[in-house]
Subunit: 252 residues, 2 copies
Amino acid sequence: MIGLPGRPGPAVIMGRHDDGPARGNVMAGTAPPTPPVAAALPEVGRRERKKLATRAAVRDAALRLAVRHGVENITVEQIATEADIALRTFFNHYSSKEEAVVAAAAAGAEALVVEFRARPAAESVLQALREAVLVVMDRHDAAGRDHLRALRLMRESPSLMPQQMAVLTAQEQALARAVADRVGPPAVEGGPTSIYPQLCAAAALAALRVVLDRWLGHATDPDDAPPLAVLRREVDEALAHLATGLDTVAGT
Amino acid sequence: MIGLPGRPGPAVIMGRHDDGPARGNVMAGTAPPTPPVAAALPEVGRRERKKLATRAAVRDAALRLAVRHGVENITVEQIATEADIALRTFFNHYSSKEEAVVAAAAAGAEALVVEFRARPAAESVLQALREAVLVVMDRHDAAGRDHLRALRLMRESPSLMPQQMAVLTAQEQALARAVADRVGPPAVEGGPTSIYPQLCAAAALAALRVVLDRWLGHATDPDDAPPLAVLRREVDEALAHLATGLDTVAGT
DNA sequence: CCACGAGGATGCACGTCGTGCATTGATGCA
DNA sequence: TGCATCAATGCACGACGTGCATCCTCGTGG
């Protein structure tokens, strides 16, 4: 998800196909089936590739500067310069620096939904979700230190929180649909849709958000990640709570 | 492909207790605002009261204009004029029009936490939460049409979503603390804090958000609220799901 | 091979945002 | 009554975000 190329050059191309800046909030785009690791298909011409490259350059430049100087202390102009584009062009891709910074992280949430859908139908909803989380976690674990720094940036920048939540809710909708597809169509066609998919997706993502937040908070030293094993355990614990019910009375 | 005021969109419980001078009508001596639950505050002098009044005036003016013209189509200057204050003064209270508009809603979420804390310890966490929700719901039901319009505004204004989520997460923290207090201190002093409070608070608020969102979505006609009974039922259903566990396998 | 249409990158102008700084007037206090 | 405080204001200014016209590159049909 995060990718921090050393130079503003052509970066990894990852999904995100929508045109036009998203006024005020984030994309809820359904990128064409672009599995986690995308391969350049002849589908896109040089033109499209250049556009994507520019987009990626902007995104990475934004993240790089934000990690180094803090989101509050950088201007869109600086990002544009770093990405070697005109100021005006920046707004052709993102409508604010916050959106650009968070965009780099959005892929993570998208990947989760993709992996979830890929799980066999035999698994229960929360089981499938757990496995999907593990897959995404492992993959991102390889991203290393830069990736961790980016996560901390997200966690500790108040001004990014809104954008993050926006991404999260967008993915919540996607996950809700995935859950609905998994449990099958409602008994009655056209009948009142069950609240279950939305509820489950919302609760699950909220749980994962809490877990990740706690995990990032555990670390006493910056750049020092608590063992991944801890994260796994807490994910399991949280999902287990959801699965078995989380009501409690005083003294328990 | 995103900025359209469409289906997805969170909402927040909101209430509008107006204390301050409401444009063109009574502006009594401004008796100390009457928060959800009485609070004796003999401490406030005229100075503080005036400040609060100004704040309320700004908040209400923002909400009123936003409901009438849409958040996107109003400027801070208009709000300031409507509230009869200088432009600069606006920023002494809120840092953006979105914040001002949503501020009116924040009280709702705060009230929920307050009511939750007021529930007897004998009730389980989710029971207490349910009762608290009902209390807040009933109280706000009396607010009538304007209140409903405000809720719809929140739901359908993409640019407000970030601020709403900010309010929501703030209350999530407060609720998490309340839950922690309710279930009692951890067995081991200073030991690793349980994830339960945060998890529970996050899941519960996420559930309530989904329920409210669905409820607002049910209505086919604007200004026409689905019966409150439906809301109650869905709240119960959602919390019941959380209480008994929400795992499921295909075909269930 | 070339002219032409589509679309991305830019430059420019402009209105709105949000903040720092200095000033004023009402308020609270000794 | 004299003084300290603080909300409200006015002013200046840099950053933001968008509409519009233009230039240039890529993709295509002739």
